[in-house]
C-alpha cells in the first residue's frame, strides 16, 4: 500500500515536471498580462523565421515570453520592453518597425507605389481617350 502510494506520487511528480515545460503561468494582473500578450504579437521569434513570439513553441520563444512577463510585472512599460529588445536584437525583432529616417522609405513605399500607379493609370487613360 505504501509502495503503491509512492509510485503514484512519483508519477504525479513526473507529470507535473513535464507539464512545466508547456504551461506558462499568466500574470495575475489582467491588464499586465494583456500588455504582455500584445508584445508577444508584436515581436519576432529570433530562432524561427516568420513567426511572432505569440505563435512560436520554440524553447527560446518560451523563455522570451517569460522574460517579457517578468519585465512587465516589475513595472516596465511596453515601450520600455520594446526598446530593451530592440537594443539587444536590433529593430528587426519588432514586427512594427519604428518610424525613423532610416525606415522612412519603408513606411512611404505603399503611398509612393499607389501614387506612381495612379499617375500611370491617369496617363494611359488620357492617351486612350485622345486616340478614340
Amino acid at each position: 500500500m505504501h509502495r503503491r502510494a509512492s509510485i503514484i506520487a512519483a508519477l504525479l511528480l513526473a507529470a507535473s515536471s513535464a507539464q512545466a515545460l508547456v504551461v506558462e503561468p499568466a500574470l495575475p494582473d489582467r491588464q499586465q498580462e494583456q500588455a504582455a500578450q500584445q508584445l508577444f504579437h508584436d515581436m519576432k521569434c529570433v530562432v524561427c523565421e516568420g513567426q511572432s513570439l505569440a505563435e512560436s513553441d520554440a524553447a527560446f520563444a518560451q523563455q522570451m515570453r517569460g522574460h517579457i512577463r517578468r519585465m512587465i510585472a516589475k513595472g516596465n512599460t511596453p515601450q520600455q520592453v520594446r526598446d530593451y529588445f530592440a537594443q539587444r536584437y536590433g529593430d528587426q525583432i519588432l514586427l512594427t518597425p519604428p518610424l525613423a529616417p532610416r525606415t522612412a522609405l519603408l513606411w512611404a513605399a505603399p503611398l509612393l507605389l499607389v501614387l506612381g500607379g495612379g499617375v500611370m493609370l491617369w496617363r494611359t487613360l488620357r492617351r486612350g481617350g485622345a486616340s478614340s
Partner: protein
C-alpha cells in the same frame, strides 16, 4: 525621360542596389562594443538549485562563452576555447543555456573542461540580457567591466588568434575604451 526607358532605368537601379548588397563582403562575426557588462542571475554548476548574482571579476579580463552540451558548433570551437584557457591571467567562464547539470557534467568530462567556472542559465534571462540569439556566442570583458567584443557564432581557428591578441592586450593594461 521617355516613359519606355523608365522600366529599364528601374531595372538597372535595382540591379545595382541588390548586386552591391550581394557582392559586398559578409559582416565579421566579431563585433566591437563598449557597453558595461550587466549583472546576471545564474546557477553555479556545482550547486544548480541555487542562483547567484554574477559579475565579472574586477580588474580581471574575462571571456564569457554561452554554450550547451547539445550544441554541435560548440564542440567545433572547443579546441579554440582550450587555447584561450591557456592564456595566463584571464578568466574563461562558461554559461550553459537550456541544459541540464547531468548532461553538462558528462559533456565536460568527455571533451575536457577549459572553463574557470561553469554556470547554468535556467530561465534564459541572462541569455536574453546579453542579446544572445543562440549558442555558441562569446563576450570579451575588459578590466573595467566593459564588454569589448561580442562574438556571434563559433570561434573558428582563424579568429582565435585575434581574440587571444585582444585578451593579452587588455590583460597587459590597455584601458582606453573605444570611441563611443
Amino acid at each position: 525621360m521617355k516613359p519606355r526607358f523608365a522600366p529599364i532605368a528601374t531595372f538597372i537601379l535595382l540591379l545595382a542596389v541588390l548586386g552591391n548588397a550581394l557582392l559586398s563582403p559578409p559582416k565579421s562575426p566579431l563585433v566591437e562594443t563598449s557597453s558595461m557588462m550587466p549583472t546576471l542571475m545564474l546557477a553555479p554548476l556545482t550547486a544548480p538549485e541555487t542562483s547567484v548574482q554574477w559579475k565579472a571579476m574586477p580588474d580581471t579580463v574575462t571571456m564569457v562563452n554561452f554554450f550547451a552540451s547539445w550544441c554541435m558548433p560548440c564542440l567545433a570551437e572547443h579546441a579554440q576555447l582550450k587555447q584561450i584557457a591557456a592564456v595566463e591571467g584571464i578568466r574563461l567562464e562558461g554559461i550553459a543555456w537550456n541544459d541540464s547539470p547531468k548532461n553538462l557534467n558528462a559533456w565536460l568530462k568527455k571533451n575536457g573542461n577549459p572553463f574557470t567556472a561553469v554556470w547554468l542559465d535556467t530561465t534564459g534571462d541572462a541569455t536574453i540580457d546579453m542579446g544572445v540569439r543562440g549558442v555558441p556566442e562569446s563576450f570579451v570583458i575588459d578590466r573595467e567591466g566593459r564588454v569589448r567584443l561580442h562574438l556571434k557564432g563559433a570561434l573558428m581557428p582563424g579568429e582565435s588568434d585575434k581574440v587571444i591578441a585582444l585578451l593579452t592586450r587588455l590583460r597587459d593594461g590597455e584601458t582606453d575604451a573605444p570611441a563611443r
